[in-house]
Structure formats: structure tokens, C-alpha cells
């Protein structure tokens, strides 16, 4: 089995308690996750990250090589909403994934 984790899931969970991060931070997180969870592939390619940012402009923006959280975006980090970013596949291993964030 190979569970693909989209960058939208990674970004929304990573920025839950932070205001910004770099691609390097996300790549390091990816390496930690994949090292421990052998059935997981975390997609953090620049294309997919930029796609997530352009797709959810109310939540994220890109500035000075950092991915930042919009000031008015806190409502999207609510537990009832954040599930929108999980896929049918990664919901099966959600509990194991969440501990990395």
C-alpha cells in the first residue's frame, strides 16, 4: 500500500499552530514522516505547494520564500473544517500521521 499525502493536508496541519514555514521545513517533515511510516509518500514538490497556495488564497500566501498563513484564516484550522483536506486514502492512517504535526 502507498498512501499519498497531498501538500494541502501537510500545509494545513503544519501551519495549525504556526504563522509561516519554508519549503525546507516541509521537506524535513516529509523525511521524518516517510522514515517512520513506510507506507506513506508525502508530496511536497514545489509545484504542488504552489498549487495549494493558489487554490486556497483565503488560507495561505507566498512571501519572501515562505508560506504564510492569512491573518483571517484561523477559522479554517477548526477541527470541523480541517478534515476537508484529508483524502479518502489518508484518512485510514490519519491517527499515525497527526502525531508528526
Amino acid at each position: 500500500m502507498c498512501y499519498k499525502i497531498d501538500s494541502s493536508f501537510t500545509l494545513i496541519h503544519y501551519l495549525k499552530n504556526k504563522n509561516s514555514c519554508t519549503i525546507r521545513d516541509i521537506v524535513e517533515l516529509k523525511n521524518r514522516i516517510e522514515n517512520e511510516l513506510k507506507s506513506v509518500y508525502v508530496d511536497v514538490s514545489k509545484d504542488s505547494i504552489l498549487q495549494t497556495i493558489s487554490q486556497y488564497p483565503e488560507i495561505f500566501y507566498w512571501e519572501e520564500n515562505q508560506i504564510k498563513k492569512q491573518k483571517s484564516a484561523e477559522k479554517y484550522f477548526n477541527n470541523n473544517v480541517i478534515d476537508f483536506f484529508k483524502s479518502e486514502q489518508n484518512s485510514k492512517i490519519e491517527d499515525e500521521l497527526i502525531k508528526f504535526f
Binding site: 500500500m1 523525511n31 516517510e34 505547494i49 498549487q51 487554490q55 520564500n65 473544517v81 478534515d83
Partner: protein, 466 residues
């Protein structure tokens, strides 16, 4: 000395001349010929004639790259007389052309749908194999992590270095720079002039704004499908391309103001394809079907690990008595057929007699007809409730399916490239049409028997918002 060339007939550009040495060293190799059996897009479900492959696309990108570079050299050479010698211009030209030709050589069967399998549990190994080709004390690995290439770009870059290194050098080109161009890995930090210049060549193949890769697929996908998309005057565009220094001594890709309308058309044409075709409800449904089928095969075996392996480009990989070398779309379909009695989704895929049909087909319908008064937050909550089975009790657990639709709409970013007006460089991002705000949405599919209950289902869905 004249260069011997071979001529390829292309439906978009007419005759394309390619040096014989490139044919011998790159095109007439099994890795490149494999691209004839990797379909370019998943749009064939919509357009019966849209049958085109990454081979034709690669030849097209080579043609545009060759044209772009010849104009770039013509328009910019005099500006950099002291900084770039004739021999260096020639090396840049060869490197750029080879990178354009080979930029997709590592694409996976079914392209983006399965490309992640190549990297599954192998990222450290691929990073190590790549780093062997770059000098010990360069910043390459840091830059590689910073620019985080897509899976197919990593595989294409590595294949180029491992399988074609000597051939690239014998064509007076730089393998390392060609790999950077394919992967979009720019130099970072304090840069000298050459690195700044090379960064612009990298973005001309693999950039966020206008690059020869997207310039080809926008035209080719539109033409092959017969869809009425915009007409892009690529000759007018490329004839005005140059690299110039801005006020801060940084190199910038610059176009003359006469191509403003072409730049706008590229933006419109690209977003048209993403909005109406690549995110079409049938396309995303079929992709999900294919993913589910392969994951089911993979769940009890090591199919993906064996077949989607960079080593399968050079050595046969055995899986359940079948041998896979240079895997293509056909190999995946062949494998799927072996499991036809174990998964009813396979019959559904092969017959295209889909079990589920979309309740709405476009963002416009979703947004204006049904969800107009529903906030973003509530749309997300409704999607979550559906995923958690909120409609199952009333309509049955196997009768409803919801999929997020994610069109990759984008505008030209600030600082991607510039327009020259009265000797001043103006940021081109101001010149293009701005795509509609967030087009993320989801599509709900229902089984045939639920189709007559569309109104009740939508009413129930809307009642799920808190």
C-alpha cells in the same frame, strides 16, 4: 561546417529539423522511444481523437526551445559581449536544446497519476544518486531541496545524468546544467553573473510563468482535442525574447511590448485547459477509478515498488511471471486486466460504463446554482459530512461519492518576467487576466438509481451546513 539534420513533420509547427547527432544519441534510444507509449493527458475520455503522447510533446518542446534560444541569442548577445564568449553561447544553446528534448524522459505510465510511486521510499537514494554528479562543495543538494522538483522531473534529471552523461558532453553541452533545467533547480545564494544568467535559462524551460514546456502543451492539447481554445502566436512571442540586466544587475527574461496580447492569450489558454478539461468531472472520476484499481493490486503485493522503479528503465523487473522493462501505459492496462475477476471497478474502467454520474458538472453550476449562499467554510463542512456518510442512511452507503475538483489555475507571478516599455522593465504579472478567485470545489456523484432524486439529495446536502 554544416550540421546534418533529420526532419520531423509536426501538425502544430510544420517541419522540425533536429541534428542527426541528437537523433542518434537521444531520440533513437529505448528510453526516449518509450515516450511514444505514454499518453500526454487524461483528456481522451472526453475527446475521442485526443490521442497524443509525450514523444510528440518532447519534439515540440525541442522545437520551441530551439526557436526561443535562437532569438534570445540574437536579441541579447550584444548586451553580454564581455561576459559570455561565443563558445559559451554555443554550449548554452546545446544544453538548452538537449534539456528541452529530454525534459519528460522519466515520466511515469499515466503521467501524473502514478508518478509518486517512483519516489515511494526512495527519496534519499535518488538524492544521493543525483548528488554524485555535482561537485562535492557546490550547494546543489540545498538548492535541490529548496526547489523541490516534481517526481517526474527528479526521475528525468537522474536518468539524463546516469544514462546520457557522456553523450551530452560529446555534444558540447553541460549535463549538470541540463539536469538543473529539467528539474527547475536554480542556483541560490550569492550568485555570479553566469549563475544568474543560467537561472533564467532554467526558468525558460521549467518556470512558473511562460516556459517552452507549457507553450507546447497548451497548443498541442488544444489542437489534438479539437477544443476551441485561444490561438497563440508563438512566433511573435519568441521573436521578441531577450535577457537583460535590471537596475539591480539581476538578469531578467524580457519581452517587447508588442507581445502583450500573446502573453494574455497564454494565460487564458492555460487556465481554460485546467478549468474545462483537466478538471472535467469525467476526467477526475476516471483518474480516481484508476488510482483505486492500482492501489488494490498494490495492497497485497509489491507491484508498484517493482514496476514503478527507476531501475525498470534499464533492467527487467519480474512481477507474477510477467517482465516489465521501460514500463508504459500499455503495461499497466495489461496488468489491470489480469485482475478483472477480482475487482468490478476494472470492468467499469475498461467499458467506461461508469457506475456514478456527476450531480453537477461545472464550477459555475456548483457555485451559482446550488452553493451560491453557502460560505467556503460551510462548503468544506458539507463535504466532510458527506465523506463521513451523512447521506448514507437516506440514500444508501454505496450510492454516493464525492471528489474534490482542483483546477490548477494560475496567473503570471510577480518577477517571473518583464515587458520592455521605453527602455524600462515592467513586471509582466500586471499584463495578464486574473483568474477567478479560488475555484476549488467538489463534485458529488450518484449511482444511476439516485439520479431522479437529485433535488432531494442537494436539499439534504445544503441542510448539512451548521
Amino acid at each position: 561546417m554544416s550540421i546534418e539534420e533529420k526532419i520531423f513533420r509536426d501538425p502544430i509547427y510544420g517541419y522540425i529539423s533536429i541534428p542527426e547527432t541528437y537523433c542518434k544519441d537521444f531520440i533513437d534510444t529505448a528510453i526516449f522511444q518509450r515516450l511514444r507509449r505514454i499518453e500526454q493527458t487524461s483528456m481522451r475520455v472526453l475527446y475521442p481523437s485526443a490521442h497524443h503522447d509525450r514523444f510528440a510533446h518532447s519534439i515540440g518542446v525541442f522545437y520551441l526551445g530551439k526557436l526561443a534560444f535562437s532569438y534570445l541569442e540574437k536579441n541579447s548577445k550584444s548586451l553580454f559581449q564581455d561576459a559570455i564568449s561565443d563558445a559559451e553561447w554555443q554550449q548554452y544553446k546545446n544544453t538548452f536544446e538537449i534539456a528541452c528534448l529530454m525534459h519528460d524522459c522519466g515520466h511515469s505510465p499515466f503521467s501524473h497519476t502514478f508518478e509518486h510511486y517512483y519516489l515511494f521510499q526512495r527519496e534519499p537514494e535518488i538524492e544521493h544518486r543525483l548528488s554524485c554528479f555535482f561537485e562535492k562543495y557546490t550547494n546543489f543538494i540545498n538548492e535541490y531541496r529548496l526547489y523541490a522538483p516534481a517526481p517526474h522531473e527528479k526521475i528525468s534529471g537522474l536518468l539524463l545524468l546516469e544514462e546520457y552523461f557522456g553523450k551530452i558532453e560529446s555534444n558540447h553541452a553541460s549535463p549538470q546544467l541540463a539536469a538543473r533545467m529539467i528539474m527547475g533547480v536554480k542556483y541560490d545564494g550569492v550568485l555570479n553573473f553566469k549563475q544568474k544568467f543560467e537561472n533564467k535559462l532554467i526558468s525558460l524551460l521549467n518556470g512558473a510563468g511562460i516556459d517552452v514546456d507549457s507553450l507546447d502543451y497548451i497548443q498541442r492539447d488544444s489542437w489534438i482535442s479539437g477544443v476551441g481554445n485561444v490561438n497563440i502566436d508563438y512566433q511573435r512571442l519568441l521573436s521578441s525574447i531577450m535577457i537583460k540586466l535590471d537596475d539591480n544587475e539581476n538578469c531578467q527574461i524580457v519581452f517587447k511590448k508588442k507581445v502583450l496580447s500573446v502573453i494574455d492569450n497564454i494565460s487564458i489558454g492555460r487556465n481554460f485547459l485546467y478549468k474545462w478539461i483537466y478538471s472535467h468531472h469525467k476526467v477526475i472520476y476516471e483518474q480516481l477509478l484508476l488510482e483505486n484499481i492500482i492501489e488494490k493490486i498494490n495492497s497485497n503485493s509489491d507491484f508498484c515498488k517493482k514496476v514503478f522503479s527507476i531501475d525498470s528503465f534499464t533492467n527487467s523487473k519480474e512481477f507474477q511471471g510477467h517482465f516489465y522493462l521501460l514500463p508504459t501505459d500499455d503495461d499497466i492496462i495489461h496488468t489491470i486486466k489480469q485482475y478483472i475477476h477480482e475487482d468490478e471497478k476494472i470492468t467499469e474502467l475498461l467499458s467506461r460504463n461508469y457506475k456514478y454520474k456527476a450531480l453537477w458538472k461545472t464550477y459555475f453550476e456548483f457555485n451559482e446554482s446550488y452553493f451560491r449562499d453557502v460560505s467556503d467554510i460551510n462548503r468544506m463542512k458539507i463535504f466532510n459530512h458527506i465523506q463521513n456518510g451523512a447521506l448514507s442512511e437516506e440514500f444508501g452507503s454505496n450510492n454516493i461519492l464525492s471528489i474534490k475538483a482542483t483546477p490548477k489555475l494560475k496567473n503570471i507571478n510577480e518577477n517571473d518576467f518583464f515587458i520592455e516599455i521605453d527602455n524600462k522593465l515592467i513586471d509582466a504579472s500586471k499584463a495578464t487576466s486574473i483568474p477567478s478567485k479560488n475555484l476549488s470545489y467538489f463534485i458529488v456523484y450518484v449511482s444511476e438509481e439516485l439520479r431522479p432524486y437529485k433535488d432531494q439529495i442537494i436539499k439534504k446536502m445544503l441542510s448539512l451546513q451548521s
